[in-house]
Amino acid sequence: MAPKVINVPKTDPRAYNPNRPAGLLLRSQALHMREALIKHVHELTTLLNIEMNSLKTEADISAYVHKATALLHKHSKKPAKK
């Protein structure tokens, strides 16, 4: 016997309204995204402000590259699944 099948009604296409004023939840989401961006900018600015000539040792370079790689990884695309 086949399972019970329930047809799900379509949504009225007139429901689409991208010009609807954004509510508090969506405005909060945008504000929180901005906070997240500020944190990234702070991290990026910190790294960009490091004077290259100040990196003297392998340990200096290692620390810098570590932070830069971690930051760049945040923005990299997810690797394709094998």
Binding site: V5, R20, A36, K39
Partner: protein, 411 residues
């Protein structure tokens, strides 16, 4: 341990937005008396003192604009009917119409807050899942307040003392999110948001754990089909109307007023079908569909007290003139648990049955995931440690394939 629990490999949680239990499922009581819904006699006074009964007149869209108040002071009014905070006041769920009038300034429109759906006719997906699997009579939002702090309980088991919309816990590392706990223990966990234009409400994890614990709905569908679903998945609906990548129209599916409720129905059906149509996944996955909070819409059940989480929101933060010790839950929301190992028509008793009641709230989500996958081994709030877990609903008997519903017409 039940055979259903023995077979369990995946927990999936879909959290929708801003609808109360009675508004969505209250009508089911007429046909299913064990479901603690509406008799039709529940009422609120309006600002003229007239008695406004609940009415089966809810519509998919356009009825709840402006967005009903669901911030802490508004919910306090809804629960206590306007009695000022202080010793001895009693919850009575009599302030919903009054509160909505403060926004609409229109007596007739303020009555809309008492409207509910004919669930079997209007909401074939949610009502079918509720009656075919398990529905909770006593699943409450964690805080009598808005989205972000309530969703925090689903991710962390606490809101870190907050009752509003701030991303307050951004620097608080005392409690790891359930995703971090899983990953640190070598398990897998993902938050699937709808797409990038909709993104996530869980910004803190986006900051700390991008991209390893995030995916899109398309990836969820693909992971279901390819048997690559993580141990734990949390799904977010589409939060806004926006153009699709091919120029089409993508509708918000979160059911947040004033988004179309029917599109949310279709979204829930899509998530369910992604699991249901993979026979292997279907047998070893449990799906919880739950709403983050009531969205200011009427429910008749008084929220019960709960284990405090050791935090206190100040009187300034609550906006009521009184501090809040996180010792009382928010308003009741729809919650449905789905698995072939759950018997049809399961109704989990709530406050209407004090002897057998099992009360749930969003801290039950990380509690369940952490107990099942990590044997409870994580630093957690007392609130989460005391929260009821929901996998006890899985039985020894797996229902046959032809005994489990599928949804159609979703393309």
């Amino acid at each position: 341990m039940s055979a259903g629990l023995d077979n369990l490999k995946h927990i999936v949680v879909l959290m929708m937005e801003n609808r109360s239990f009675d508004h969505m499922l209250g009508s089911l009581k007429q046909k299913y008396p064990k479901i603690n819904g509406l008799t039709g006699n529940e009422s609120n006074p309006d600002t003229n003192g007239a008695i406004v009964k609940v009415q089966q007149k809810a519509e998919f869209q356009s009825q709840l604009d402006p967005d009903p108040d669901h911030h802490f002071p508004g919910v306090d009014l809804q629960i206590f009917g306007g009695a000022p905070p202080g010793p001895g006041r009693a919850a009575n769920m009599q302030g919903f119409v009054k509160d909505y009038f403060s926004q609409t300034k229109d007596i007739n429109r303020s009555h809309n807050i008492m409207y509910y759906f004919d669930a079997e006719k209007d909401l074939p997906v949610l009502s079918t899942l509720a009656t075919e699997y398990a529905v909770f009579n006593g699943w409450f939002s964690s805080i009598p307040g808005p989205t972000i702090c309530n969703r925090a309980f689903a991710h962390y088991g606490t809101s870190f003392g907050q009752v509003g919309m701030d991303i307050f816990y951004i620097l608080d590392t005392s409690i790891a999110s359930v995703y971090e706990r899983m990953v640190q223990a070598g398990r897998t966990a993902k938050i699937y948001y709808y797409d990038q234009p909709s993104s996530t409400m869980e910004i803190v994890n986006l900051l700390k754990n991008q991209p390893q614990i995030f995916g899109t709905l398309d990836q969820f569908i693909s992971d279901c089909a390819g048997n690559t679903l993580p141990d734990y998945s949390f799904i977010e609906p589409c939060y806004n109307d926006h153009p699709g990548p091919d120029g089409g129209q993508i509708l918000a599916s979160d059911q947040h007023p004033d988004h179309n409720v029917r599109e949310g129905e279709r979204f829930i059906a899509n998530v369910y079908n992604a699991i249901r149509t993979n026979p292997t996944l279907w047998q070893n996955t449990v799906l919880l569909v739950v709403y983050d909070e009531h969205g200011g819409i009427y429910d008749h059940v008084i929220p019960p007290v709960c284990t405090p989480d050791g935090k206190t929101a100040s009187a300034d933060a609550t906006g009521t003139g009184e501090p809040f010790a996180f010792d009382r839950l928010g308003i009741r929301v729809p919650a449905v648990l789905i698995s072939p190992w759950i018997q049809r028509g399961t109704v989990v008793p709530g406050t209407e049955d004090p002897v057998n009641a099992k009360i749930f709230e969003h801290a039950s989500i990380p509690a369940t995931v952490t107990n099942f996958f990590l044997n409870g081994d994580a630093k957690r709030t007392v609130r989460e440690q005391k929260a009821n877990t929901f996998l006890g609903l899985l039985t020894d008997q797996m229902r046959q394939d032809d005994d489990c519903v599928v949804f159609n017409n979703l393309q």
